[in-house]
């Protein structure tokens, strides 16, 4: 259905002005804190092998789903604190709060852990005028206890399945705890987080560590939720090259077993980690969603000049 108005922007001009203001206040925030702005390639010979993030491939490589690997290579090269505002691409992600191409703000802080970085995320959102109240912090375990009535670390697979509706065939994933935890997060927990003030969810199960450090059965990872919407994801960054390689290979094996695309992982990142990543924390913030919430827009499309349906 291509209406005659289809050439027009998805966002109003007023929203586009608010967007420009948001970008400049983000930059001012980092300039004042001596964090260096960097600009890394969007197109790479390698890609993420994350189980649930799909990359676009081109004849000459892969479009980034996050600038994480290149930024970590800069950190290993001694860049010090860095930030980047860039476009990232995720195949098959489209909906009211998703657009396959979106704008990410990502930054890294040598010497910080995930809790100290949460403080800075909060300071940033205060500085750009998104919120003024103190944010809350809640562990992944307490969020599930509060909103799903079960302990995500202790509940049996049967208990996890019993609290959420699912009508597809889960296939081999039916026996994965994380599969059911994700469904419960989408249906029950996430939508109830940060309804009053923004809230940091932290201490994820170790099985959902992604690229964060693991401490016992806890991953040193956090997400920021506001009005039920996930706005940011941060890690106390994994620096162990061998552990990073093992995780990449395990994710590749999982993808292969599921019959999914298995992209090559970034050997340059492993080599960089071997040479030494400073102890650091990093976080990615979805700027389109942040603007959507700040401007009380009905969808992420309304925050962009041209959303996926007319790009």
């Amino acid at each position: 259905m291509k209406g005659e108005q289809h050439w027009r922007p998805s966002a109003t001009l007023e929203t586009l002005k608010a967007r420009a203001e948001l970008l400049s206040s983000v930059r001012a925030f980092f300039v004042a804190r001596n964090v260096l702005e960097v600009d890394t390639p969007i197109l790479s010979a390698n890609a993420t092998v994350d189980r649930h993030i799909e990359s676009f491939s081109t004849a000459n490589g892969w479009l980034q789903t996050s600038p994480e690997f290149a930024m970590k290579r800069l950190l290993c090269a001694g860049s010090g604190p860095i930030y980047q505002i860039c476009h990232v691409f995720r195949r098959e992600e489209s909906g009211r709060h998703h657009n396959s191409e979106f704008t990410m703000l990502e930054w890294y802080r040598p010497g910080y852990d995930h809790h100290r970085l949460m403080d800075e995320v909060e300071a940033l959102l205060h500085a750009v005028g998104a919120a003024s109240a103190r944010f809350e912090r809640l562990t992944y375990r307490d969020a599930f206890l509060r909103h799903a009535g079960l302990d995500p670390f202790e509940a049996t697979l049967e208990q996890l399945r019993s609290v959420v509706r699912f009508d597809s065939d889960a296939g081999a994933q039916a026996s994965e705890r994380d599969f059911w935890l994700d469904l419960i997060m989408s249906a029950k927990v996430g939508p109830r987080l940060g309804l009053d003030v923004p809230i940091f969810l932290h201490d994820f199960p170790a099985s959902q560590a992604a690229l964060s450090r693991i401490n016992g059965d806890i991953a040193e990872r956090f997400e920021l939720f506001w009005r039920g919407i996930e706005l940011a994801n941060g890690f106390h960054e994994l620096a162990d090259a061998d552990e990073q390689r093992r995780r990449f290979e395990a994710d590749q094996a999982w993808r292969k077993a599921q019959g999914q695309v298995v992209p090559p992982y970034d050997q340059n990142l492993i080599a960089a980690l071997e040479s030494g990543l400073p102890n650091c924390a990093g976080v990615a913030v979805g700027l389109d969603r942040l603007l959507m919430l700040m401007q009380q827009l009905p969808s992420v499309a309304a925050s962009m000049a041209f959303a996926g349906d007319r790009a």
Partner: protein, 189 residues
């Protein structure tokens, strides 16, 4: 067999689940940033009208239901079936009681209705939005009442019962809204 994937389902898409046709009302995509994506769809059973929710794994497909809605003229009821004709092709179809009963109380013949066909079989009939029908039975109103306040039940020639103002009498033609089931106005004799 045509199929439709969760990322193509929009409001109005017709899908088949366990042999039953549904219309998609709403489709919401959910995904934890680093987790499994799902779509929760709200669907209406096209036979019963009941609305359900289903949560599917993103990328899953459902069979497309062969559904079409055609404008047809109501001809007659033979006691068992309601007969309709396509005014363009003159093709006739018959609808069973369960498909026609909601519309049946508003139609007497020659009205243009919308007939919902599933694999070519009528599963629903929508009458015209407004119809003009004769009142066959209603109590005499109180003399002097012209306000329309209160009202009284009136039985129409097709069997429908609507509330009418007290001044409206048996033997009059009235206009009704079939979507709300309400009296709209007198239509003259």
């Amino acid at each position: 067999m045509a199929t439709v994937s969760t990322n193509e389902m929009k409001s109005g898409t017709k899908v088949l689940i366990d042999g039953v046709p549904y219309a998609v009302i709403d489709n919401e995509y959910h995904k934890p940033g680093k987790g499994q994506a799902t779509n929760s769809i709200k669907i209406r059973n096209l036979k019963t009208g009941r609305v359900l929710e289903r949560t599917l794994k993103s990328g899953d497909t459902l069979e497309v239901a062969d559904i079409e809605e055609v404008e047809m003229q109501y001809l007659y009821n033979d006691g068992e079936f309601w007969h309709f004709m396509n005014p363009a092709s003159f093709e006739q179809i018959q609808a069973v009681q369960s498909a026609a009963e909601e519309a049946a109380k508003w139609i007497k013949g020659e009205e243009t209705c919308r007939v919902l066909l599933f694999n070519g079989v009528a599963i629903g009939v929508t009458p015209p939005n407004t119809v003009t029908l004769l009142i066959t039975e209603t109590d005499p109103g109180l003399r002097g009442d012209t306000s329309g306040g209160g009202g009284k039940p009136a039985t129409l020639e097709t069997g429908a019962v609507v509330r009418v103002p007290l001044f409206v009498q048996q033997g009059e033609m009235i206009k009704c809204d079939t979507r709300t089931g309400e009296y709209m106005s007198r239509a003259g004799k």
